[in-house]
Symmetry: C2
Subunit: 201 residues, 2 copies
């Protein structure tokens, strides 16, 4: 029905996260309505992604070999937050509440999809933990089965290490009611944990 130029691009956009063929089609028509100059700018910006690397220390995307956080001398080197993806790091940075380091795993253990711990940057993490002054490992992974299994896997590995298990405190970010949530609709696990972790006011 479509010429192959259009169809190929619809197929490419259909691979984007959360995008089905209908939206992919809308994207292509959007680009067709732009003139070739507008598309050229988009293409130039796409090409610039080749200048983006994975930070060799934490795994964050960066235009330098070592990202701006790992380069920053003012960050606390005693704390490290473990996240799954770079966008999780960005979300935490936006809170302005944290001045320590990060380690990006590059995913979460997902046994259903056969995505095991060997695919994550866990080896790199332990190299960092063994050769630094890190005192606290803070997990900030999704509250999902995959997130919880990944926490468990890494915590077990830390506990089995004689030195690390002594020197490092392991924590995870609190579970509770998000801003604007209604108690009536909260699930029992969240509400139960929010109750256990209640804070003096």
């Amino acid at each position: 029905m479509y010429s192959k130029e259009i169809q190929n691009l619809i197929n490419e956009f259909s691979q984007f996260p959360g995008i089905g063929p209908k939206t992919a089609q809308r994207f292509v028509f959007y680009l067709l309505r732009k003139d070739s100059r507008g598309r050229e700018k988009f293409i130039i910006d796409l090409k610039k992604l080749n200048n983006i690397f994975s930070c060799s220390v934490c795994g964050n995307f960066s235009d330098k070999k070592i990202c701006f956080i790992c380069q920053d001398k003012n960050r606390l080197t005693s704390k490290i937050i473990i996240v799954a993806e770079p966008q999780d790091l960005i979300a935490i940075e936006r809170t302005g509440e944290y001045k320590g380091l990060y380690h990006i795993l590059g995913g979460l253990i997902d046994t259903v999809r056969d995505f095991g711990p060997e695919k994550l940057k866990i080896g790199d993490l332990f190299k960092r933990l063994s050769s630094s002054q890190i005192k606290e490992v803070i997990f900030a992974l999704n509250s999902t089965i995959e997130g919880e299994s990944t926490v468990l896997y890494i915590v077990n590995k830390i506990k089995k290490d004689e030195i690390l298990s002594q020197s490092i405190k392991v924590t995870k970010i609190a579970r509770g009611l998000p801003l604007g949530a209604e108690i009536e609709y909260a699930d029992e696990v969240t509400l139960g944990e929010a109750l256990k972790d209640r804070k003096a006011i």
Copy 2:
């Protein structure tokens, strides 16, 4: 927070229809996870959009100057469906119920956004109507205020034309309950029109 390469592309994707900054961010991370070869293929496909033109007859996107429908000698030249956008043409073609011609307006009259009839290919439409054997004009525009105003505007113009008003029958696609719709939740206008247009079974 992001390097400018990433931020620029997030801004570009945020302009895509229905895409906010969060999804735009996911798109960029998706592209970063592809390797540069994968991105290169995407860029090549994007560049090929420069080979796509507006059909000089109906306004459909095409890799030829005249699109495959307008070139097709087997299409009925007595009927023309008026649609707003090329994707509407595709939706109608998919039904397999229509073998006539099309005319793409390139939008709908939207007085709120100051998008007037002069921005649509209405002049071209009347040139086509005047110089052809078209016997029926079928409107297939969205069931919205914009769609209805556009129908009204064009119908009035046809009625004012002494020759066209005599030679051309004007229709619009039926309004009714879509497949799977529940009567209980149908709006009164739709249900009222579906009742008026009831068909013998």
